[in-house]
Amino acid sequence: MMRLELVKRPQRSALFSALSPFMAFVLTIIAGAIMFALLGVNPLTAFRIYFIEPVSQVWQLHELAIKAAPLILIAVGLSVCYKANIWNIGAEGQFIFGAIFGSAIPVLFPQFEGPLVLPLMLLLGMVGGAAYAAIPALLKTRFGTNEILTSLMLVYVAQLFLDWLVRGPWRDPQGHGFPQTIQFGDSAVLPELMPDAGRANWGFVFALIAAVLIWILMSRMLKGFEVRVLGSSPRAGRFAGFGLNRMVFFAFLLSGALAGLAGISEVSGAIGQLQPVISPGYGFTAIIVAFLGRLNPLGIVAAGLVLALTYLGGEAVQSALGISDKVARVFQGMLLFFVLGCDTLIHYRIRLIGLALTKPEAAAKLEAAPKLKEAR
């Protein structure tokens, strides 16, 4: 019988901060090798296709950027919320409302063209996401309603609202009755970065810019200090004169706006029209990304890319080796667990204690005690 025991380090270990992702990777490789071998697949082949191929072909790098962009954009916004100890888990809904608000221009005014269209759409997208996030913020500050519940419930409402919209009033009249809006005009489409090489669009650039801006905000500006103080100790924050209610709104509006921006970027960049379903759960996956990136905007960029890679890799082994979607999902889960587990080493040392050993150890302690006294 063995027991784990954590011993807190005096300060966070810079060594393990850098090392833990690699340890996690090695552990994932070992566990993954066992799993693939059990399934009768050569682990070497599987790993090559899973990890190497997606980053060794240009078109796949573009796909990686497309997949990571919304995850990063949403997650950096959420990181501010979570640092402030505010629990917005409804980013998926804010993503959808951003997409709806932004799409209003190309859907309702298709004749409106020119260079103004896109900036306006992006702006409206942010407004939409922020407005939808304002609901849980308002309910929390006005009535003390728990934001976990309200933001989560509003996700379902947003999904159903979008569904109604694209099947009802916003449906493309020429679309043979199928549930989608008209294709956006050229000036309403987010341009691709390098059209000859792949499909990645400006959404990825937005994600990087947002990450840098939030990083500056959090580490270099007073507001970031306020977020951290209120998050770790609301009482201390109040003494310092920081308003908790203002912070709730700030965090929700900021994260909502970024989720909304992600939504409209996705629709106008990668999809080109509104559909009943526009997100395979980005808003929820982004929560994992936020924590995987240790709530640090730059860490989130890395985490977003890694998670996107696991999706791409999962598809690659599926089509190339006939490994089912489920196996890829399990492998992804394993990777996440190892990463989270290895991060423990940053703050703690781990000691393995055999229960059999505890008795002599205790005896040794007892023996040591009188000696200490004597020494005194």
Binding site: N42, L44, T45, R48, I52, W59, E63, I66, K67, L160, D163, W164, R167, G168, P169, H176, G177, F178, P179, Q183, R199, E266, A270, I271, G272, Q273, Q275, P276, V277, I278, P280, L312, E315, A316, Q318, S319, A320, G322, S324, D325, K326
Partner: protein, 355 residues
């Protein structure tokens, strides 16, 4: 370190060589599914078709698939990946993949593409679909014969033409037997929530329906019918195992024969993009054995099935729209374009479509 790298690279090279050598003398056919193949419904039936291809064509063909692919950028990537990985013939099985498939097909002119239930075609992109409404007409007739209350409960997923067409055809079949037949309609707004389908079935039975029809995939509704000792129809696959006393018949999707013929054509080099709408006569739409009904009803159903296989279309006039305005004149047959974009109800349907 260097040695290790070289060793790694050579093994990698060996693997990719082996892979391409294998691909050379086999045709690689690939599928993209919208749901998990374990849904025992739509995606499951398509995958059964893929397995039939493997069985029928043996070592002449190699297959691959991607499941659980969502619409949007994920779909674009799925098709591009398959095209790049050497798939020569790719089937996209969901309407939502249409634009993704159109885009990727343009980019890979040498790869053959087929898209189910859409309407956009291209030089290397064909479309295929099945006339499930033909079967639904038969279901309507059986329901009208078997129902004591004259009311059926109809569980539906989302208002798309395919579903609306099905409701209309069912009602036309039912009204051909009982002009006052009614159907209560419940939208569950999901392709995939067995619990909600069961709840919907219970609600419909509670409100007086005594036969359940569904355009959703799970067996949940039929299981409720079995429990309540009432009747219903299966969907996508034969569900008799789940409801031995309740299932009257089941409207099943049989994609196998079509897939085999298309893959064979690709192997022979005779594949051309096509626009096919298969029906009962092609064996793509099948009605599971008629059970739990008297012989005369069974005979009637079989006769109707035969009539439809012979070329008769359930959407043959005179048919009026829901508000009573005439749609088809006596003897006039609906054209496929109108059916594929169907967005209105025929007379007697008790529901309102979102406009």
């Amino acid at each position: 370190m260097k040695k290790l790298l070289i060793a790694l690279m050579t093994t990698t090279a060996a693997f990719s060589l082996a892979a391409s050598a294998e691909a050379a003398d086999k045709l690689k056919a690939c599928w993209v599914y919208t749901g998990p193949i374990g849904d025992f419904g739509y995606s499951y039936q398509h995958d059964q078709g893929r397995l039939e291809v493997e069985k029928a064509l043996g070592d002449k063909v190699e297959t691959a698939y991607l499941e659980n692919v969502s619409e949007g950028p994920d779909a674009d990537r799925a098709f591009e990946r398959l095209a790049r990985e050497g798939c020569k013939l790719i089937f996209g099985t969901s309407f939502g993949f249409m634009d993704a498939e159109v885009k990727v097909a343009k980019k890979f002119p040498k790869v053959m593409f087929e898209h189910a239930t859409g309407y956009k075609t291209g030089d290397n992109l064909g479309i295929y679909n099945a006339r499930f409404y033909e079967g639904r007409y038969v279901l309507g007739q059986i329901a009208a014969k078997e129902s004591k209350s004259g009311v059926a409960g109809y569980i539906v997923s989302f208002p798309i033409p395919e579903v609306v067409m099905g409701i209309n055809s069912f009602m036309l079949g039912a009204q051909s037997i009982n002009p006052n037949f009614k159907a209560k309609i419940v939208w569950v707004n999901s392709w995939f929530d067995p619990g909600k389908e069961a709840d919907a079935a219970k609600a419909l039975f509670d409100q007086g329906a005594d036969i359940i029809v569904q355009h959703t995939d799970s067996t949940a509704a039929l299981q409720v019918a079995e429990e309540r000792k009432l009747h219903g129809f299966g969907q996508s696959s034969d569900m008799i195992k789940f409801a031995p006393n309740a299932q009257l018949t089941s409207l099943t999707d049989e994609w196998g024969p079509y897939y085999i013929s298309r893959v064979q054509a690709a192997i022979d080099g005779t594949w051309k993009p096509d626009n096919v709408w298969l029906g009962i006569k092609d064996g793509a739409v099948k009605l599971a054995p008629y059970t739990n009904m008297p012989d005369d009803v069974k005979a009637m159903a079989e006769a109707t099935e035969k009539k439809i296989a012979g070329g008769w279309n359930p959407f043959t006039g005179p048919i009026a729209k829901q508000d009573g305005t005439p749609w088809l004149k006596d003897g006039e047959v609906a054209d496929d374009g109108t059916l594929l974009g169907m967005n209105f109800y025929v007379k007697g349907v008790d529901d309102k479509l979102p406009q």
